[in-house]
Subunit: 284 residues, 2 copies
């Protein structure tokens, strides 16, 4: 079968064997923001040229309103069965593919994910998962189903403050500063709230307590500290890019949270399982 991870800024294609092992993979920058409406079939044909396996199962923002076609969210709690029932079929020329629905968590305020659900379910384990990133996800899995989750804009807030706020003006490229990062993590637990603590990045800079490179690390520690302090757990699985996972593990350790880093390759395993379920259904 073919497993596709089609996100906002990248498109990753995997050819899998019958047991779900990756035989071949191709990546490109044709994320959905770089694909014109109506061009999704053409782009996919090009990317998987020469691969004839079926079924094709795709996850990520390709199923959003801005993607190929919208695959409506399934609601929590959501496991493989609920997601398989929500698969959205698309067809073009003589081919077809299935798009994995996103997951919706109702609560005081709704929350949504697209793509993270396959990464988490692919691990095949209950527990609390943290997927750090632009929009970090805190995901609770119980009885092999996503019970509930929350999104934290940690990575995006870091990026916009660094690039567009007064805090970024005194930041300089430089080696990450673990001491300043740890100081930011500690600071995140003190009084005054995040909006106040953010200004401390500037005030400490003005007072000569933080230099240009250290202030970026301090800001990062402050934000990651705020995210993790809201978790209210003692054990977290970390799933994501190794650099980010390392930072989160360091912050969590300072907060007395035990972490376990997982390989971020579980997504294809979940897509493979969905492919097997699809084939079983078609054959029955």
């Amino acid at each position: 079968m073919i497993a596709i991870d089609w996100g906002t800024s990248s498109l990753r294609c995997y050819r899998l064997d019958a047991r779900g092992n990756i035989l071949e993979s191709r990546a490109s920058s044709y994320g959905i923001l770089n694909v014109a409406p109506g061009q999704f079939p053409r782009v996919l044909d090009e990317q998987i040229a020469g691969w004839n396996e079926t079924p094709i199962v795709m996850s990520g923002m390709v199923g959003s309103r801005q993607g190929w076609v919208e695959a409506p969210y399934v609601e929590c709690p959501a496991g493989f069965d609920e997601i398989a029932r929500g698969l959205k079929e698309v067809s073009w020329n003589k081919r077809r593919a299935w798009i994995v629905p996103g997951v919706l968590c109702r609560g005081a305020v709704p929350d949504v994910m697209r793509g993270e659900e396959v990464q988490v379910l692919g691990v095949g384990q209950d527990g609390l998962f943290c997927l750090p990133g632009t929009h970090s996800k805190r995901v609770e899995v119980r009885n092999a189903r996503i019970e509930r989750f929350s999104t934290h804009m940690t990575g995006e807030v870091y990026a916009v403050l660094k690039q567009h706020s007064i805090l970024g003006r005194m930041m300089e490229e430089g080696k990450p500063d673990p001491r300043a990062f740890g100081e930011g993590v500690r600071r995140s637990g003190e009084a005054g709230g995040l909006l106040h603590q953010l200004f401390g990045v500037r005030a400490k800079g003005l007072m000569g307590e933080l230099d240009g490179a250290a202030s970026a690390s301090y800001l990062s520690g402050l934000l990651i500290g705020h995210e993790l302090r809201s978790y209210d757990v003692r054990n977290v699985y970390l799933l994501g890019a190794p650099e980010l996972v390392k930072l989160y593990a360091r912050a969590a350790e300072a907060l007395g949270i035990e972490t376990h880093a997982l390989e971020p390759t579980a997504g294809t395993r979940a897509l493979h399982r969905l492919g097997v379920m699809l084939r079983a259904k078609e054959e029955s």
Copy 2:
């Protein structure tokens, strides 16, 4: 005398009578960011052309490292005496002027202000003051001295998220929506923390619970709510631009905080008093 409020983006000049009443005022966009190094005397001469009163007392970012000359911070607690002792004299051609020092609040993390100190002390009243803005200030005045204060990046975080984050993408210009604003204020007290609640702006938009104009009001309520919840008081004087003061008053009311709006003209009164102190000192 002449009172000058010289900030980052504007320069306001006031000619005062002996009792501190404003006889004439001039404003321009020659904030310190629009004045080249070395050009401060020329710009001031142009702006106060024809005014010959003395002394000239200036407050605001003109005393920062990027301003005319740095007027080192005086430490809290700081009242008129401490600030008068920290006045920094500058002279050019046959004129001279005094720059009001900023105030420094030491604590776990330092905090700083430049310009707000004269606005607050000019009121001539003890209490807790909130000066909403790009960098809002929460200021405690006791025995006519600034006892301590904290800065909250509320306004700047709102602006950068609106202009540069994914939250801004679905926002539209439109009339402020008081209902959505109130909902944001309430939301700011719920679980998950600010970084999580920010993503709710997007998720509510995706679910059709917020339209483009309402989402900006909701974000504003969320941020102002976070700032005010960290205040931990029941009574606040609001001092600032009328539009912002109105928003803060509405949020405070929802949180059970009593507010009193003050006219934001106290700054010239404080500069006048400093001028009187200067003259008394010179005559003694």
